[in-house]
Amino acid sequence: MQKRIPIKNHHQEIQLISYRTMLGLVLLFLLLATLICRLAYLQIYKHTVFSTLSTKNWLDLVPIEPTRGLIYDRNGILLAENIPVFSLDLLPYKTKDLTYTLGQLSKLASLSEDDISQFQKQLKQHRRFDEIPLKLRLSEEEVARLTENLYRFPGVVVKARLMRSYPLEKTFSHVLGYVGRINAQELNQIDQINYSASHYIGKLGVEKFYEEALHGQVGYEEVENDASGKPIRILKEIKGSPGKNIYLTLDVKLQQVVEDSLSGHRGAVVAIQPSTGQVLAMVSEPGYDPNLFVTGISQKSYDALQNSEDKPLFNRAIRGLYPPASTVKPFFALQGLDTGIINEDYTVQDQGTFKLHNHSRPFHDWVKFGHGTVNLSKAIISSCDIYFYDLATRLGIRRMDHILEQFGFGKLSGIDISDELPGVVPTPEWKQQTKGQHWFEGDTILSGIGQGYVQTTPLQLAVATATLANRGKRIQPYLLLAYQSVDKKLEFNTPVVLPELKINDSHWDSIIKAMQDVVAHPRGTASHYGKNLAYSIAAKTGTAQVSKRRIADEMDKQADLPEKLRDHHLFIAFAPVDNPQIALAVVTENSYVTLEVAKKIFDYYLGVKK
């Protein structure tokens, strides 16, 4: 069968297809133009925007924690260091089932109840995206076991880190303080950028005061990330600077002697080098182990410290407020001489009581029947209260306050650790303000023997003693001997010299001679300090009553009193007298060991020097 084949008009068809091809080509170029416009828009017009977006995609700045500066004593003995530890950390936002993970992890590493509760505590207050240490100081075996199994626990990491450590533990607890995790309150105060990689901050003592120098400056790594946020490589490192090392004026061995001699008692000792104002030792007993606080102290241990009757967390050296008692007598005597109200030969008849006109109750001496005829020297040597009652009424509270303030009482000493208390030098205005009462002459009289409202810290006593030893030259006490920068150069601290006390030399001589006799004279209150000493020493004792005023001869019955009601004892001294190398204030609560403590310290310090 043959189909009917229509005759095709080839020429017309060729023209049609050619025409349509050209038409298609035009359409095609229109589409192409759109595409090229789009490319130009993206790559030329919007280039900067997309370029920024692209960089933001892959570039990350990762902060690097600066290494904290070390702390040395004056002889270069390490007081605070950074030790490398392996810790088991958890990133809470990456961990799905927390309780399951904790349960599994405790099979691989020994997790104490303390670790867990500590972790739960930190979980509530940690910074977002911060890892929380579950256990610090993993053993090598634990590290091995854990790293093998880590893939099973997303968000769990074993990290090598530097941990603050205080090798001498209790000895420097109060002075050095410690570092701890940055808490919510501190987070608002710190420089967020500089602390972006830091987890620890100085909480107390030197660690807190010199935080800025010890912390250093944060560094950065520019890290290239892939789409899953995994770091691929480090592109650039912007170096930060490690914290500066610091040398303290403290002397480890002296500090240890002080600690040993004070141990078993509550009290504080501050030793100052009078010529420089450097604090040689500062101890508050009992102390605590600051290392506990670095890892995060457990609630139980903290409660134990907090609730202890001995108050180990309390830094008595700068915050303990004690009546200076008889230790203020040399200062008032000096004021009496300086103002000319008394002279060396002025005497008072001491029959055991001092009666103030229009005051019904007499003031007692600490010896029932008095010391008889008492001149200045004898008044200091035997610590005659009646003499100083008399002097107080003659001086008046203003002049008494004046000399106390000049010796640094009643205000902050300016020492370079925080939280110092200023104590109290009472004025009539002060009494009106705080007690709402008028100032009575009886208050002046009590102030005359360092009782009543006067309150000082052991540090202030030591500073005043150093000023006495310097015969009026005053230097602000300090703990920082020198900074050590990265290039190992030492940058010494310059002491702050305060305005000098201008008092006639002969007056200094009389007072210091009398203080020497406090120890040397057979009837001196510190005569049992020791005989045939290798060094000359000037001192003054003090007894601050804890229980209500007693009759003086009940003194012997101290041992019968409950411990907490026994007197506080104070002792200030410096030695050698001609060339004072150490000025000391010792305060012991409810205990009469001040002389023994002081003797051990002087014997050690001056023995070494010779």
């Binding site: 050619s18 091809t21 589409l31 490319l39 370029s51 692209s54 960089t55 995609n57 691929i232």
Partner: protein
């Protein structure tokens, strides 16, 4: 002299009185071959970077190219008249395989596009890219052009049955290309402008209904196209990252291997559908223009062959092949730059993968056959 002697051997007369060159003898169009080689070389360079210099991927892509160029060479040897005779059979076999694949897809779970022939996996939809224009050209060869309303109606099932089956797989990208391949034949065959306008309006009316036939992920893509920021980490992620890659390239690009978007895996599918973004990131606007120019050289050569083809069948076929090639890279670039919704169309001859490459090179083989089997008629 000796060379000349061998040269003479190939210069034997065929189909006419003129002597033919060596390349004509082996039915290779030299210009088209050069353009294709240039494009493939550029593609390999981009792929080298986008795969992070993965030697295995490069090696495989070389194998793909070798195979595809082999297919092109084979296709170039088949005279257009043979193609014309076998056109209905090719279409019929393709359609059967398409149904077959769909059947397997129903048995297995999820989408099924592949037919495993043992030694290679094979995508029947790819055959249809050639089979549809072949069959339509075969049909219209037999009738008077321009086509009438009746003859157009004949084309509708020829185009839409395989397109529907392909879209069902689901492979929307290929389905669209099938429709383009068929429509371009109709366009060349003189489809009336009224009809075009009518069908475009019909399309516009039908589009909202097509929503119900789309897969969920396809709906997401469409929504994302209209508002990229809708779901920046989900369906919008691709296009946002791709725009960042292209935009951050700037005029001259970040340089080979320096593309952070692709090398650090921010850009998904950076070796397949989104490879154009890698080109844009590393070689910038200039690089993109060069790449587009290479494509356009091929297209222009294709259209030249179309116009110079000697019969209606060849012209319709060559024109359709060329337009489809243009549309396929245009759709890809359009979706990567965010002016078209994301449909899975690879960048021809540059994206990693062998399946579409084989079809494309086969179609260029046909172009070469059309060009070299011409009877040299002097007019």
């Amino acid at each position: 002299m000796i060379m000349n002697h061998y040269w003479q051997k190939f210069k034997k007369p065929a189909y006419g009185s003129r002597y033919r060159s060596f390349f004509q003898y082996i039915h290779i169009d030299v210009l088209l071959l050069i353009f294709l080689l240039l494009l493939c070389a550029s593609g390999l360079l981009i792929l080298y970077s986008s795969t992070n210099q993965n030697p295995k991927a490069m090696h495989l892509q070389f194998v793909h190219f070798g195979f595809a160029f082999g297919i092109m060479f084979v296709m170039a040897q088949i005279p257009p008249t043979t193609l014309q005779r076998t056109a209905p059979w090719v279409y019929a076999i393709g359609l059967v395989m398409l149904f077959f694949v769909l059947g397997i897809g129903h048995i297995g779970k999820g989408g099924q596009r592949w037919l495993n022939l043992g030694f290679m996996r094979f995508q029947p939809a790819e055959i249809m890219k050639l089979a549809i224009p072949l069959l339509l050209a075969w049909c219209y060869q037999k009738i008077h052009l321009p086509i009438t309303f009746k003859t157009v109606l004949l084309a509708i099932p020829i185009i839409f049955v395989p397109a529907f089956l392909t879209a069902k797989q689901p492979d929307l990208g290929t389905a669209i290309l099938l429709v383009i391949a068929g429509s371009s034949v109709l366009f060349l065959a003189g489809l009336s402008f009224q009809f075009m306008a009518a069908s475009l309006s019909l399309f516009a009316v039908l589009v909202p209904f097509s929503w119900y036939f789309l897969h969920d992920y396809q709906r997401q893509r469409v929504l994302t196209f209209f508002n990229t920021e809708r779901d920046p980490l989900g369906s919008g992620y691709h296009i946002i990252q791709s725009k960042i890659a292209i935009g951050s390239g700037g005029v001259f690009g970040k340089g080979l291997l320096n593309g952070t978007q692709s090398n650090l895996h921010f850009l998904p599918e950076h070796s397949t559908d989104f490879i154009f973004a890698v080109c844009g990131e590393e070689f910038g606007f200039v690089g993109n223009i060069i790449l587009i120019s290479l494509y356009m050289l091929i297209v222009l050569r294709g259209l030249y062959i179309t116009i110079n083809a000697q019969d209606t069948f060849s012209r319709l076929l060559a024109g359709s092949i060329t337009f489809t090639f243009f549309i396929s890279f245009f759709i890809n670039m359009g979706m990567v730059t965010g002016i078209l919704p994301v449909v899975g169309v690879p960048l021809p001859l540059v994206s990693y993968g062998g399946s579409s490459m084989v079809t494309i090179m086969a179609s260029f083989g046909i172009l070469m056959s059309i060009q070299t089997y011409r009877k040299l008629v002097t007019t």
